[in-house]
């Protein structure tokens, strides 16, 4: 059953001490704000403003482009300067709304859909949908869709993913320490949507103060409990976390709801609370600016759309020219070739490292050491999968469950021959997913 952990996984250098003890700092954007229309999984949002329009803080500037989609809100007041393609952290170009900040921060009036006590489950989901809340841990799956599974009464657990297993990141941790009530309230709202659900706060055992705090807060809650999970990467991966909390296994073609679970990230639940109780759309998130190349690594409360460069400047810039800049953490993040990229709903961190471990090492011959097999949380044989990709043997790749890979990167991390295992497997998965769509 639920053992609080999973098989495999790795223990990379955590780097959390750089930023974990500093309080969250709010920053106001100075330059233009960029709102990519695709900050989530699903159809891109559709712009509903035109160039030259005046917008207010909290005004909807793009509406959901379909069922699996999310609206986007302006996070400052100002003028729409352009609607054009801009580069995202992933390297892709995306149609974006650019707003010139007038520095006044005039807000629209926020009011909840209904008083909280009168809200039904549908009202709550509608409020979350309207607020544009998406999974803020990285995937960006629209939360309202997640909250509306086919059979809501079969959901047994809503799991708040407080494990934050990604190295260097402390944004969820700071949120848990500074605004625990907000997170708890968000979780309670999520639990209340499902008739038979219980809430679990899954916290890694390297955050004892957060565990103590939530144990205290949930002392008198009968539907919410704290589950201490083992500190290990990728504990916070959805499939691993469900297994660690409930002992249930799901594969790549199943949704957490198939195992009776809903998993939400810390920031997401906070946004859910704001959306349902106050009617505030998703406008801000916590971003960790960290790495050994940064003068003052810390967490920021950021208005979504703010340029990464502004955050970095506030953190004092670079101690030393970084060898690599990553949007997100070192295991799952995207390397940036240019800092001129906006923060989005899913931007959790900017990690600046003085050492680029990847380019220092050339891949060498595999020695079949089986370390990749030992660390793979999905029980795959990464070595064989990578070989199949190199030989372009699609059948072998599929037969050996290649599509089950969660791209966590453990195999590439551990490989003593420095093979690009995850990268090879990921490439083939993209090809196969593309074929499925056709």
């Amino acid at each position: 059953m639920a053992r609080g952990t999973f098989e495999g996984g790795i223990h990379p250098y955590e780097g959390k001490e750089l930023s974990k003890d500093k309080p969250i700092k709010s920053v106001l954007p100075k330059g233009d704000l960029v709102y990519p229309l695709s900050q989530h999984i699903g159809a891109p949002a559709k712009a509903i403003v035109a160039v030259g329009d005046k917008v207010l803080t909290g005004q909807k500037i793009a509406e959901a482009g379909g069922f699996v989609s999310a609206p986007i809100y302006a996070t400052v007041s100002g003028t729409v300067k352009a609607i054009e393609k801009r580069r995202l952290a992933t390297g892709a170009m995306c149609e974006s709304i650019i707003v010139e900040n007038d520095g006044l921060y005039e807000e629209v009036e926020f009011k909840p859909l209904k008083p909280y006590d009168e809200m039904t489950a549908e009202d709550k989901i509608a409020a979350v949908r309207e607020a544009g809340v998406v999974g803020m841990g990285g995937a960006g799956f629209p939360t309202a869709v997640k909250f509306a599974p086919k059979e809501p009464d079969k959901i047994d657990y809503v799991i708040a993913n407080c494990s934050e297993c990604e190295p260097y990141l402390t944004s969820d941790y700071r949120r848990m320490i500074e605004e625990p009530e907000l997170l708890l309230e968000g979780l309670k709202i999520a639990v209340s949507i499902f008739p038979n659900a219980r809430g679990i706060l899954a916290i890694e055992d390297n955050k004892p103060d957060a565990i103590a705090k939530f144990k205290e807060l949930t002392k008198n809650e009968d539907k919410i409990s704290v589950k201490v999970v083992k500190t290990k990467y990728p504990e916070g991966a959805e499939r691993m976390l469900i297994y660690a909390c409930t002992g249930r296994e799901i594969n790549s073609s199943m949704l957490p709801a198939d195992a009776g679970c809903i998993v939400d990230n810390v920031d997401t639940l906070c946004a859910v609370c704001r959306a349902v109780k106050e009617g505030r759309p998703l406008m801000e998130r916590i971003v960790t600016i960290t790495g050994d190349a940064v003068v003052d690594p810390r967490n920021y409360k950021v208005r979504i759309g703010t340029n990464y460069r502004e955050l970095l400047d506030d953190a004092g810039g670079f101690v030393k020219e970084p060898a690599k800049i990553i949007s997100g953490g070192p295991m799952m993040g995207f390397a940036l070739f240019d800092l001129d990229v906006p923060t989005t709903k899913t931007a959790s961190a900017l990690t600046c490292l003085t050492k680029d471990a990847v380019s220092e090492m050339e891949p060498t011959a595999c020695i079949n050491c089986a370390r990749c097999v030992e660390v793979c949380p999905e029980r795959l044989i990464p070595k064989n999968l990578a070989d199949a990709v190199e030989h372009n043997n699609e059948k072998a790749f599929l037969d050996m469950y290649g599509m089950e890979c969660c791209e966590c990167g453990c195999c590439s991390y551990i490989c003593p021959a420095r093979r690009q295992l995850t990268q090879l497997i990921k490439g083939m998965r993209k090809i196969q997913l593309g074929k499925r769509k056709k």
């Binding site: 594969n251 799952m332 390397a335 240019d338 990847v358 380019s359 551990i414 003593p416 021959a417």
Partner: protein, 316 residues
């Protein structure tokens, strides 16, 4: 775009361990055994070990140079091969034996099949088997100044009494590296502690071998007899240092278990029913050949995949 930076696909960090430092640890773990071999058998043993290592490293270097391949001598894998080959030779062999063995191990067994990671059998054992088959008299000449000529295992086969304590310390006849159980255990402990080798292969090997010998050895589960089998030949060196050779053992967890069983079974058959007293080298070399097959049938089911998922998918 003045400050374009280097990008790569995630993950962006790597563990510290590399192929060359893993190989270096294996060399370090073999040093107690080598040291005791030199102490036990004298300066000839030292010369044989050095010649064997030099022969392996040079063969690799010359082959790669001649074939215009990248030079990979720096990964220490040829040093490990050379050391293991030397430890598997008697101290009485003429000095051309380790040289010839090293050349065969590296060129024939390793490089011709594509170099590191591609060889289908353990190069050191391939080299040793080549020598044993070609020069049987030289390769089983265990006469030294200090001890009687036969190895404990040969004595056991011929019904001569053996001393278990001597075998633990290593004051017996045998190849340079196989005599001292204590030194081999120290080396194995280093590798276990660093997580370089796993427990499955050596222990399934040893346990299945003990059961086989107990059932078919003709002495039942007699403690002295079994411990003489365990400590009197190359079993321990083979189980901890050669059966666990990454390249030639299965990568799948279940496969490793099966591989260990096959090793125990084959070693038992060779030792009890075979003409030679020893059987570890041949057992490992033959089991090496079965590895691709074992791997093919032991691919684990991925996380979250149900037992009959494939059959159901076919039906649907």
């Amino acid at each position: 775009m003045s400050d374009m930076r280097r990008v790569s696909s995630n993950p962006h960090v790597r563990a510290k361990e590399t192929t060359s430092n893993i190989m270096m640890w294996v060399v370090i773990a073999l040093l107690p055994t080598a040291g005791f071999g030199i102490y036990n058998f004298g300066v000839d043993a030292l010369i044989i070990l050095l010649l064997s290592v030099a022969s392996c490293v040079l063969s690799e270097f010359i082959y790669e140079k001649a074939m215009h391949k990248p030079i990979t001598v720096g990964d220490f894998s040829a040093v490990v091969t050379g050391l293991l080959l030397g430890l598997n030779l008697p101290s009485t062999v003429p000095f051309w034996i380790p040289i010839l063995g090293g050349i065969f191990a590296i060129i024939m067994v390793k490089q011709l099949f594509g170099g590191l990671g591609q060889n289908f059998m353990n190069p050191a054992l391939g080299g040793r088997c080549f020598l044993v088959i070609s020069f049987p008299a030289i390769m089983t000449n265990f006469i030294t100044d200090a001890y009687t000529g036969a190895t404990p295992l040969a004595n056991l086969k011929n019904g001569v009494e053996v001393n278990v304590m001597d075998m633990l310390i290593g004051r017996t006849a045998g190849t340079i590296g196989e005599t001292s159980m204590i030194c081999i255990a120290i080396g194995a402990m280093i590798l276990f502690a660093l997580g370089i080798i796993d427990y499955v292969i050596p222990f399934t090997y040893i346990i299945s071998f003990v059961i086989f010998v107990g059932l078919f050895g003709g002495h039942g589960f007699n403690w002295t007899y079994i411990s003489a089998h365990l400590a009197g030949g190359g079993l321990m060196l083979g189980a901890f240092f050669m059966a666990t050779d990454y390249v030639t053992c299965p990568i799948t967890p279940r496969g490793r278990f099966i591989y260990g069983l096959i090793l125990g079974l084959l070693t038992g058959i060779f030792r009890i029913f075979g003409a030679n007293a020893e059987g570890v080298s041949f057992a490992i070399v033959i089991a090496n050949l079965l590895v691709p097959l074992i791997e093919k049938y032991t691919i684990p089911r991925a996380f979250g995949i149900k037992r009959n998922a494939k059959k159901e998918a076919k039906k649907a």
